[in-house]
């Protein structure tokens, strides 16, 4: 006599018909959380690949480390106790320094020197003419101590060494080492261009 089968036995508790050396197998559903980890990992792969390899939004390893090293170099240069022409020239070729300097320049200095550095109230900073000396340390000194007689404030106490270095680096990034320096006695202020 066979026992009456249960009505609609749950399908997944049914054993598969075949046995192997006495080993039986259920055919249960795949756990949902397990499937989610699988699908989630696949979705992550697609997103990650798109981000780094198709859209190139994420930086390459080398670009990422170069950027971080530039930050470190910038930090070191900024905290260097004494500055000479060579190290300020080096700063002016460091993108981290120059970018930070641009921010400071545009918020503070551009009111007189303009965002294009072409000068207005204050003198032009991208030509070869300098009033108080065009060597990096001289520029640094000018920013630091100011030329009160001509309306240039001493920025040292306000900005601090690091920000001043950045600003000078930004200015020098428009120049090349070794280019001629001509001393100009006076700057004739112009009206800001419309």
């Amino acid at each position: 006599m066979t026992p009456t089968p249960k009505p609609n036995p749950p399908k997944e508790d049914a054993l598969r018909p075949h046995t192997f050396d006495g080993i039986q197998e259920y055919d249960k559903r795949l756990p949902n959380w397990w499937l989610m980890t699988l699908y989630g990992a696949i979705a992550f792969w697609a997103g990650y690949w798109f981000y780094y390899e198709r859209a190139h939004i994420g930086p390459s390893n080398a670009a990422a480390v170069e950027q971080k090293l530039a930050v470190i170099e910038a930090e070191r240069l900024a905290s260097a106790p004494s500055l000479d022409d060579a190290s300020i020239w080096k700063m002016s070729r460091n993108p981290v320094f120059v970018d930070a300097g641009r921010v400071t320049f545009n918020s503070i200095c551009a009111s007189c020197h303009t965002e294009k550095l072409t000068g207005a109230i204050g003198p032009n900073l991208i030509d070869h003419l300098w009033i108080h000396g065009g060597r990096p340390t001289e520029i640094y000194h000018t920013v630091q101590t100011g030329v009160l007689a001509k309306g240039m404030p001493p920025w040292g106490p306000v900005l601090g060494n690091k920000k001043i270095s950045e600003v000078v680096a930004y200015v020098l990034s428009h120049h090349q080492e070794g280019e001629p320096i001509e001393v100009q006695k006076e700057w004739v202020p112009r009206a800001p261009q419309p």
Binding site: F20, W34, L35, W45, Y48, N61, A62, L69, E75
Partner: protein, 768 residues
């Protein structure tokens, strides 16, 4: 006639042989492991003897536990279960014996050559070329024996354990052969055909998948046979078996580059390695779930039965290790953990926990059945379980702590991130000494457990009569009328076609130009939607196809092979066929002088790469500590590559020129003379052995054949060059107060160390 019953006697003798070899080699391998772990704490245990130093014994440990311990265990389990799952005796007694004795001979050869310093210098692929050929040959013997047995099966369908065995045999053959391609320079030495980044990629494609297809898939097959047998419970889910088998074998192959994250390996390969490693989590856990959930309803037996204890813990450790693996493959986690003890801990959770415990469970289950006598002592087996578990936990916890501690110290900076907090590597080493000691204790406890197993083994089988299993079968094989799948049935069916389409479209999207990529994306979406739409109506049809595939061993094997080969082809072929010049980034290595090359071969011989990497990663702490990050071109002529995988000491990629010659001389003579607190062995024999320069012409000839730009040097020119450079170094050493004859090995090694990092700039390749 067709209904006549016959009795088949299984070949269980071969199982007993492999089982005995498992225990013997397991103990040898673990003993060496405990010794080398101790050497890291107590340098004196290197005994100032060349063949007992860490660098030579570490390959012996890894090769012994992988190929001798797990290898023999795998063969025992595969041979025992396959015969029963196909209801047929192993096809050939001769091949079985050839397999056994051939494998043991290989192990003995390895145990002799590795301590002598005869090595290829690639991890888990150290054995020299004549032994490589023997391994490949014996593996083919195994394959023939196995597939021949399948061909004679009386059980038409293939059980899931056999799927895993098939994947193992096919894939290991492929990996082993490709990674061992070499050109001999003498009977005992060869150079790998790949170099630099290519060699690195091939090595870790192999190395990672040695873990996958030597330590994982065969053991999963063994789990699928022995665990339900021991638990006397049905396997939890057939469909989980199907899904996790195919996803595991397909995805595993792609994950190799996660051993090379943040290195000079091209970024797309790193991203593939990382994302596929994450995708590997679910397939791996599929195996764990099927193991653990099969135990449902049998948990009460765990209290008394040591076999189930070992299996349950083994599967749990498998789950732990396969969760940790994807975690470590995340680039930022890897930046901390790579080269540290965390990786060692991860590996040992897998090998001690999964391989060792599955082996112990299988042995305790088989002993009474193969010798027809109850196990000598169940209590002792239970004790083995507990001492082993404590050993693993101690080991793994110590290595986690050690790895994370050292990783954090190495990466720590101060003064606004501009300066390393621990500029001296030895500070970080000496911070983890205690953890390294705990590791030795954990490993030793685990080894004691295996001694107990050996004793239990001996007492059980002593005086017992070996017994072979038998089965009664009908003489004729039950014929299934339309079981043949044929070529079309194998390849032209919806599941296979969809798999291929999805893979091809995904590849087009990933690497194609914009147009191809967009087409790939469109094709991918259409394929996925079509597949999903067809599933409800055709699902049972696809099920039926798969059931039919299980009746066809050859088509099943072919599909498995294609699944595993895809990842390797897509990763390796572009890297190999790309012109070397395009692979250099902005610097190219200067080829070694003959003396430097000789020194490099000494570096490989002494296994320096096992503790020193030559790869400065694209990570700030690496660059701060070791100099500018390594470029691809800087190892382009390195056969084999020596990027390394572990830093028990500092990276050496740019050590050249950093110290004077005499520093290296004093350091090799006694590392603690110049680096107090170092755990490096002393190398007195380098100061007394003469360099064998006579082999250099043959070596340089092979290097030239492999593409290293050596001019047409005559043997005499080579010897003159060696002589000149060696005399220069010896003179410099003498001026600094170190007296050594120019023909000593140390001079060649110094020449090599001093050229590390020597490259010339080349025009950077245009950005894409």
């Amino acid at each position: 006639m067709p209904d006549q019953k016959i009795t088949i006697e299984y070949n269980d003798r071969i199982v007993r042989q492999f089982l005995l070899a498992t225990v013997i080699w397991g103990i040898v391998g673990m003993l060496v492991g405990v010794l080398i772990a101790s050497q890291l704490n107590f340098w004196q245990l290197n005994f100032q003897t060349s063949w007992l130093t860490f660098g030579r014994l570490r390959p012996l440990h890894t090769n012994a536990v992988i190929f001798a311990f797990v290898g023999n265990m795998m063969f025992a389990g595969v041979y025992y279960s396959t015969q029963r799952l196909v209801k047929a005796r192993l096809a050939s007694d001769f091949l079985s014996q050839l397999h056994f004795w051939g494998w043991q001979l290989i192990i003995v050869a390895a145990a002799i050559t590795l301590p002598l310093g005869l090595t290829r210098g690639k991890e888990y692929a150290e054995l020299i070329w004549p032994i490589n050929i023997a391994v490949a040959f014996i593996w083919v013997v195994f394959a023939v024996n196995f597939f021949w047995t399948l061909a004679r099966r009386r059980e038409p369908a293939l059980y899931v354990a056999l799927w895993f065995y098939i994947a193992t045999i096919v894939t290991v053959a492929m990996l082993y052969i490709v990674n061992h391609l070499s050109i001999p320079t003498s009977l005992l030495h060869s150079y790998p055909v790949f170099s630099g980044v290519q060699d690195a990629l091939v090595q870790w494609w192999y190395g990672h998948n040695a873990v996958a297809f030597f330590l994982t898939t065969p053991i999963l097959g063994i789990m699928y046979y022995f665990l339900p047998k021991a638990a006397e419970r049905p396997v939890y889910s057939y469909r989980l078996s199907v899904v996790h088998f195919w996803s595991l074998v397909f995805v595993y192959i792609w994950a190799g580059p996660h051993h090379l994250l943040n290195t000079a390996l091209p970024g797309w390969l790193q991203n593939l390695g990382m994302t596929f490693s994450l995708m590997l989590w679910a397939p791996s856990w599929g195996g764990m779930l099927n193991g653990l959930l099969t135990l449902r309803g049998a948990w009460d037996k765990l209290r008394t039965d040591p076999v189930l204890k070992f299996f349950a813990a083994g599967v749990t450790f498998y789950g732990m290790a396969t969760f940790e693996g994807p975690l470590l493959s995340i680039k930022s986690v890897n930046a901390l953990a790579h080269y540290t003890d965390w990786i060692i801990g991860h590996v040992h959770a897998g090998t001690l926990g999964w391989n060792g415990f599955m082996a112990a469970g299988m042995i305790y289950w088989l002993l009474p059945r193969l010798w027809n006598k109850p196990l000598y002592s169940v209590r002792l087996a239970n004790f083995h379980f507990w001492i082993g578990t404590v050993g693993i936990l101690l080991y793994v916890a110590a290595m986690w702590t050690s790895g994370i501690t050292q990783g954090l110290m190495l990466n720590a900076t101060t003064e606004h991130g501009t300066v390393l907090a621990y500029p001296n590597f030895l500070d970080t080493l000496n911070a983890i000494r205690f953890m390294m000691l705990m590791r030795v204790i954990g490993g030793a406890l685990y080894l004691v457990g295996f001694f107990l197993l050996a004793y239990n083994f001996y007492r059980t089988v002593r005086g017992a009569a070996p017994v072979n299993g038998t089965i009664e079968v009908y003489e004729s094989v039950p014929a299934e009328p339309d079981a043949k799948l044929g070529f079309r049935g194998t390849f032209f069916n919806a599941p296979t076609v969809f798999s291929v389409l999805i893979l091809v479209f995904a590849m087009m999207w990933m690497v194609g130009s914009d147009l191809v990529s967009t087409a790939g994306l469109a094709g991918l979406v259409v394929s996925l939607i079509a597949c999903y739409a067809m599933l409800p109506s055709r699902g049972s049809l696809w099920n039926g196809w798969y059931e039919k595939l299980l009746l066809n061993a050859l088509p099943f094997t072919l599909l498995t092979f294609f699944a595993v080969v895809a990842g390797g082809l897509i990763q390796i072929i572009p890297t190999v066929i790309v012109q070397k010049a395009q692979n250099v980034e902005d610097r190219i290595q200067v080829p070694y002088t003959p003396l430097e090359l000789a020194g490099r071969d000494l570096y490989v011989r002494e296994g320096c790469y096992l503790c020193h990497s030559q790869m400065i990663r694209t990570l700030v702490p690496d660059v701060l500590r070791y100099g500018d990050y390594s470029r691809l071109g800087e190892s382009i002529y390195d056969h084999p590559f020596q990027w390394g995988s572990k830093r028990n000491g500092p990276d050496l990629a740019r050590v050249g020129g950093k110290y004077p010659n005499v520093w290296h001389f004093r350091h090799m003579e006694n590392p603690r003379a110049v680096s107090p607190g170092s755990n490096m062995p002393t190398y007195p024999w380098l100061l007394s052995n003469d360099l064998d320069a006579s082999v250099l012409p043959a070596k340089i000839k092979v290097q030239r054949m492999l593409g290293v730009p050596y001019g047409p040097l005559s043997a005499q020119q080579i010897f003159d060059s060696v002589d000149l450079q060696a005399k220069g170094i010896a003179k410099d050493l003498r001026a600094a107060g170190a007296y050594v004859a120019p023909e000593k090995e140390i001079v060649a090694l110094i020449a090599y160390l001093q050229t590390l990092g020597h490259s010339v700039p080349v025009a950077p390749k245009p950005a894409h």
